[in-house]
Symmetry: C2
């Protein structure tokens, strides 16, 4: 009975996700769903990415948080259009929340939409919001055992941003071990190491985004 309901919820979500995806396709808008555990550095990465692509790609942002508007305020300071979703208690964004948020965000002229999900390494991976790519962040301070413990997130994501590499010398994080575990779950995963707060490693990732956005745009016309 319980499982049945979850399945219905996910089916209902997939229906709304398809609508979002069709909306994005028609506009040639490239959309990423940015996920991680709390405090892995999603918002900092977002800030640095927006700066790196400033003047090249017009970006809009949807911020997801349980409560509050801190992250949306940080992003707004960079002059990009942003909408904050407060989920109340819910530990993830779903396609319906994104559809409602887009009523308050003018997509006209935008080339990329970045959805920053609620900080959670479990549930967000289950909910398609209509994105082109799920992107996850793992900070090295969380430990290299995470792929084996949260496999769905690593399986569903196309890109892994390994953040806070400047703290590597002070942890026992084993990059090779982590990559081996990732390859066992998701052989095609694209991995970008970075130290976002210092701005290190942002460029290759920003270039990947730019390429993807251009491809999507060209398909749309």
């Amino acid at each position: 009975m319980e499982v049945k309901l979850v399945s219905n919820l996910l089916e209902a979500n997939d229906l709304l996700a398809r609508k979002n995806r069709e909306n994005f396709r028609q506009r040639g808008l490239f959309v990423i769903n940015l996920m991680s555990a709390p405090g892995a550095g999603k918002t900092t990465i977002l800030e640095k990415t927006i700066r790196a692509l400033s003047g090249e790609i017009r970006i809009g942002v949807v911020e997801g948080d349980i409560v509050g508007t801190r992250d949306a305020e940080r992003v707004q300071r960079l002059g990009v259009p942003v909408v904050q979703i407060n989920t109340g208690g819910a530990c993830h964004l779903d396609a319906g929340m994104i559809a409602r948020a887009l009523e308050d965000l003018n997509l006209e002229g935008l080339e990329m939409l970045i959805v920053e999900n609620v900080g959670n390494l479990v549930c967000p991976a289950e909910f398609d919001v209509g994105e082109d790519a799920k992107v996850m962040v793992l900070s090295v301070t969380e430990g290299h055992d995470k792929p084996g413990k949260y496999p769905l997130m690593f399986r569903e994501s196309r890109v892994l941003l390994v953040n806070k590499t400047d703290l590597l010398p002070f942890t026992d994080f084993d990059m090779a071990e982590m990559e081996k575990d990732v390859r066992g779950i998701n052989p095609a995963m694209v991995i970008f190491p970075m130290a976002a707060k210092r701005g290190e490693g942002i460029e290759p990732w920003a270039n990947w985004l730019k390429d993807q956005a251009h491809k999507k745009r060209n398909q749309g016309f």
Copy 2:
């Protein structure tokens, strides 16, 4: 309809939690529910706590993870009884899972039970498992903005373990700011800073646990 079901789920959980709590009360067993975001250091803290209380308090452990037995294996090496729960997809432990796990754990002679929840700063706080105290870990690498973003976890927990303080010099974590935000949500919260991997700050926390276990034991008889 959806909210109604969640409410029923939580009501059903509370019923089972009361049964667990009565079981623990009769045994004079002190029980903590240890929660945090992924990678904050719960298992390391658990290992160091077990070592610190070795020969003083007989501890049993319930390990909660989505998949795998890594954490249970780490704990088992210390010679304490441990049961691993795999939640499948579920992002939190509930009272029913604990009740089932206890069928495989001999509580006879134990004085303390430590439940290590799934790494998640959201949902575990909603599910009472019958514990005496919810204890949360925040690692300084997650940032000091977490109380405002995940208030339920900070409100529900009696104790906050601020971990990885050895990394403070390499972050912009503002301890005073974090404490101010915590006090606004949970004025009575007991805070222990620690660098668990180095074993720093474990003693005051272990002493607190010992006091609580003795109190519970004396109430039980």
